[in-house]
C-alpha cells in the first residue's frame, strides 16, 4: 500500500512539474505581473492610482507595438533588430512631409517603414542571410538614413495638433497611444489565432522544411512578417514622435529592440520559433514597465532607487523566463 502511494505521488508531482513547465511561459508571466502589481499597490505610495495606471500603459505602448511584430518575427525563428531604426525613419519621414498634409505624412511614413521591413524579409528569405545579420545592418544604416532624411539628425520640432493627437490625445480617460496599443494587440491575437497567415508563421518557425513541402509559401510569408514588423515599428515611431512633439532621429526608438525582445521572451515566446503568444508579450512588456516605474517611484516606500538596480532586476526576470522555457528532455 505504502509503496503504491509513494509511486502515485511521485507520478503526480512529475505531472505537476511538467504541467508547470507547459504553463510556465504564459501563466508564470501573468502570475509574476499580478504579484508585482499587487505588491506595489500595497507598498508603493501613489502606485495604485488611476493616473499612474494610464502612465504605465502609455509608457509601455511603443514597446508593445514593436513587440507584437517582434513576436511574429521570432515565431518564424528570426529576429528583428532594426525596429528602433525603423521608428526613427518613420519619425523623420513624417516630420519632413507635414507640408503635404498630415494624412499623407502618416501614410508616407508607414509605407516607408513597411518597405524597409519588407526589404529585411527579402534579404532573409531570398538570400538566406541570417536574420540577426540582416536586421543588424538595417539597424545601423536605418539610423543613418533617418538622420539623412532629417537634415543631419537635427531635432525637427513641429506644431501639428492633428498629428500630436496620436501621442498626446485622450479618448475619454484613455490616452490615444494606449488605444492604439490595445487595438494592435487585438489585431495580433486575431492574426495568430484566426488566419492562415498566423498558422504559416508558426509552421515555418516550427519546421521550415516541412512547411515548404506542405506547400506553405515560405518566402512570401517571411517577407510579410518582416514587413508587418516594420509597419508596427513605423507606427510606434509616429506615436513616440507625436508624444514628444518633435522628431529626433538620433534618439527615437533607441534600444527599443532590446526591450521588445525582452518582452517577447519573458512573455513565453520561444526564441527558437514555432511557438508564440501575443498576450504573453503584452504581459512581458508590462512586467518590465512596472518594474521600471516602481523603481522610479521608490518601491515599497523606499527612496527612489537608482535606475541601474531596475536593470539588474529586469535582467534577473529575463534569465528566469528563459530558464523556465528551456527545452525539456524527453
Amino acid at each position: 500500500m505504502e509503496t503504491t502511494a509513494t509511486v502515485s505521488t511521485t507520478r503526480r508531482s512529475g505531472n505537476l512539474t511538467s504541467r508547470l513547465g507547459d504553463f510556465g511561459p504564459t501563466y508564470g508571466a501573468l502570475f509574476a505581473l499580478v504579484l508585482l502589481v499587487v505588491a506595489n499597490a500595497i507598498f508603493t505610495p501613489y502606485f495604485a492610482t488611476l493616473s499612474n495606471l494610464w502612465n504605465v500603459l502609455q509608457l509601455v505602448s511603443a514597446t508593445v507595438l514593436v513587440a507584437v511584430g517582434m513576436t511574429m518575427v521570432i515565431a518564424t525563428g528570426g529576429i528583428d533588430l532594426s525596429v528602433g531604426s525603423i521608428m526613427a525613419i518613420a519619425s523623420a519621414a513624417a516630420a519632413v512631409s507635414f507640408g503635404r498634409g498630415t494624412a499623407v505624412a502618416i501614410l508616407f511614413a508607414l509605407l516607408t517603414a513597411c518597405a524597409v521591413g519588407a526589404f529585411n524579409g527579402a534579404l532573409v528569405s531570398g538570400f538566406r542571410i541570417q536574420p540577426i545579420i540582416v536586421t543588424l545592418a538595417t539597424l545601423i544604416t536605418g539610423r543613418g538614413a533617418a538622420q539623412v532624411i532629417s537634415n543631419g539628425g537635427q531635432l525637427i520640432p513641429f506644431s501639428n495638433p492633428g498629428f500630436e493627437y496620436l501621442g498626446k490625445g485622450y479618448i475619454g480617460p484613455v490616452p490615444v497611444p494606449v488605444v492604439i496599443m490595445l487595438a494592435v494587440v487585438a489585431a495580433g491575437i486575431f492574426i495568430m489565432r484566426a488566419t492562415s497567415f498566423g498558422r504559416y508563421v508558426l509552421a515555418i518557425g516550427g519546421n521550415e522544411a516541412a512547411a515548404r513541402l506542405a506547400g506553405v509559401k515560405v518566402h512570401r510569408t517571411k517577407i510579410a512578417v518582416y514587413a508587418f514588423s516594420g509597419l508596427l515599428a513605423g507606427l510606434a515611431g509616429l506615436v513616440e514622435t507625436a508624444r514628444l512633439g518633435a522628431s529626433d532621429a538620433q534618439k527615437v526608438g533607441l534600444y527599443i529592440e532590446l526591450d521588445a525582445i525582452a518582452a517577447v521572451v519573458v512573455g513565453g515566446t520561444a526564441l527558437t520559433g514555432g511557438r508564440a503568444t501575443i498576450v504573453g508579450t503584452l504581459i512581458g512588456a508590462l512586467i518590465m514597465q512596472v518594474i521600471t516605474t516602481s523603481f522610479n517611484m521608490g518601491p515599497f516606500g523606499l527612496n527612489p532607487l537608482p535606475y541601474s538596480w531596475g536593470l539588474v532586476f529586469k535582467a534577473a526576470i529575463i534569465l528566469l523566463a528563459v530558464y523556465i522555457q528551456r527545452p525539456k528532455l524527453a
Partner: protein, 513 residues
Amino acid sequence: MSQTVLRMQGITKVFNNVPALSGVDLELARGEVHALVGENGAGKSTLIKIMTGAYSRDAGTITLEGKHVDFRSPQDAQAVGVVAVYQEVNLLTFRTVAENIYLGREPRRWGLIDWKRMNADAAALLKSLGLEIDPRATLGSLNIALRQMVALARGVSFGAKVVVLDEPTSSLTEHEVNILYDVIRRLKEQGTAIVYISHRFDELYAVCDRVTILRDGKLVGTRELASLEKLDLVCLMLGKRREELRQGTTAFAKLELTPAGGAPLLRAENLTRGRRLNDVTVEVARGEIVGLAGLLGSGRTETARAIFGADPIDSGSVYLEGRPLGIGSVGRAIAAGVAFLTEDRKAEGIIPDLSVRENLTLAALPALTTLGVVSRSRQQAIVERFMGRLGIKAASADQKIRELSGGNQQKVLLARWLCRNPKFLIMDEPTRGIDIGAKGEIQALVNELAESGLGVLMISSELEELVEGSSRVVVMRDGNCVGELRGADISQRTIIQTMAEGSASDQKAATEG
C-alpha cells in the same frame, strides 16, 4: 593477401542500451581499397568513427601494424596515420591550399611559419597525388571536387596508413570522379589502405578490391569483389539467401516501359540531376500503385522529390493528366493534385509544436480560408472526419503532434494530403519506423484509395511491402531506372535480381545455372 595494416576485432558499441555494432571485424591490407557497405542502420559510420577515434568502443581490439592502439580522439588517430575524409569538407575557405593542408602543424622557422617550405611541401604532395593545384591558391577559388582533393591531400599529409573516404563522389561530376579514381590509384601504389564507403555499385566494382558487408550492426562478411557477383552482394546487404531466390520458375521479367493501357495519370520524363538521376522515366496510371525499388542511394527519393518539385533538376519534365507540371515548384505540384509523404517524418513532416489539428490541415489551409481567415468549423469537420477514418489516436485534436506515436504521426501526415483529395500520391517509405498495426491500416487505406482512382508511387526498402502492394515495380540503381516488373513477375527474387543486374542498356541473363 599482403601484410595487414589495421585490424579491428570484435568491435562492439552500444548507444542507450541499443547495440549499434556487435562483434564486428575489419581487416585492411596495405595498398588495398576496401569497400564498406550496408543499408540504413548497418553501422558503417559507427565503425568508421571508432576506427578514427571519434567514438570510443565498448569492446574489441584495434591493432595498427601489429601494435595495439587506443585512440582517444581523431587527433590521436591522425597522429599515427588513420584519417577520415568526410563528404562535407571541413576546411577554411579563405585560406590557401597549403595552409589548409598543414593547418595546426605548419612548418616553422625561428618561431614563424616557414611559408616557403610549406608551399614547397604542399606542391610536392599534390604532385605525388597527380593533382595540378597551386598550393598558394585560396581554397574558395577551387571547385568542390578540388576542395575535396585538398581535404584528401591533408589526410595523406599525416603520412596516412589508412584513409577513409565517406561517400567521396556524392557531389562530384563524372569527370571529377575520374580525378578521384586517379588519386586513389596513386595512394594504393604508395601502400595506403583505403576504406571506401559508397552506395554506388559501379564505383565499388571500379575501384575496390574487397568489400565488407554490415547489416543491423553485425558483420555479414568480407569478400573479394572480383569474384563476387552483384546479385550476391545485394543478397548479402539485404540479408536474403541466394538459394531462396533461385526457387521459382519464371524467368527474368522483360523490360517494358509503357504502362497498362490508356493515357497515364502521371508521366515523369527523362529526369536528370547530376549523377543522382540519369534519364529517369516513370509512369503511373489512375488507380495504380507503382513500387519504386532500389538500394539506398539508388535515386528513389531523388526521383520522388523531383516529381514533387522539391528539388531542382537539370533536365526532364513531369506531366499530370497530360499537362506539364512546373518543375521545381512544390506549390504548383500541390495545386495540380500531387501529394508527397516524406520519408523523414521528423525533419520534413511534422511541425512538432503544433497541434494535430493544425498539422493535419496545413496543406489544406488555402481551401479553408476566406479573406485570410480560417473557417474553424470547416477545419474541425475535416479533422474529425480524417481522425476517425484513419483511426488517429490522440487525446484530442489539440494535442501536440510530437506527443503522438510514430504510427499516429504518420497517419496525420497522410491525412494532411488525403484531405486535399489528391490525384497522385507519392509515398517515401510510408511504413518505416511505425508499429505493425498502423502499418497494416495505412497499407489497407492506400489500397482502398487506389481502387477509387488514386495513382500511387510507393518507395520502400521493404521488399515484402513492394511485392504485396504494387501492381508494377520500377527498379533503380545508381540513379538509373534499370528495370520494370509487373504482375506475376514481381517477387523478392526478381526485384533483387533487377537491383543487382538489370540494366536498361545491357541486360544480361540473370539466372545462373
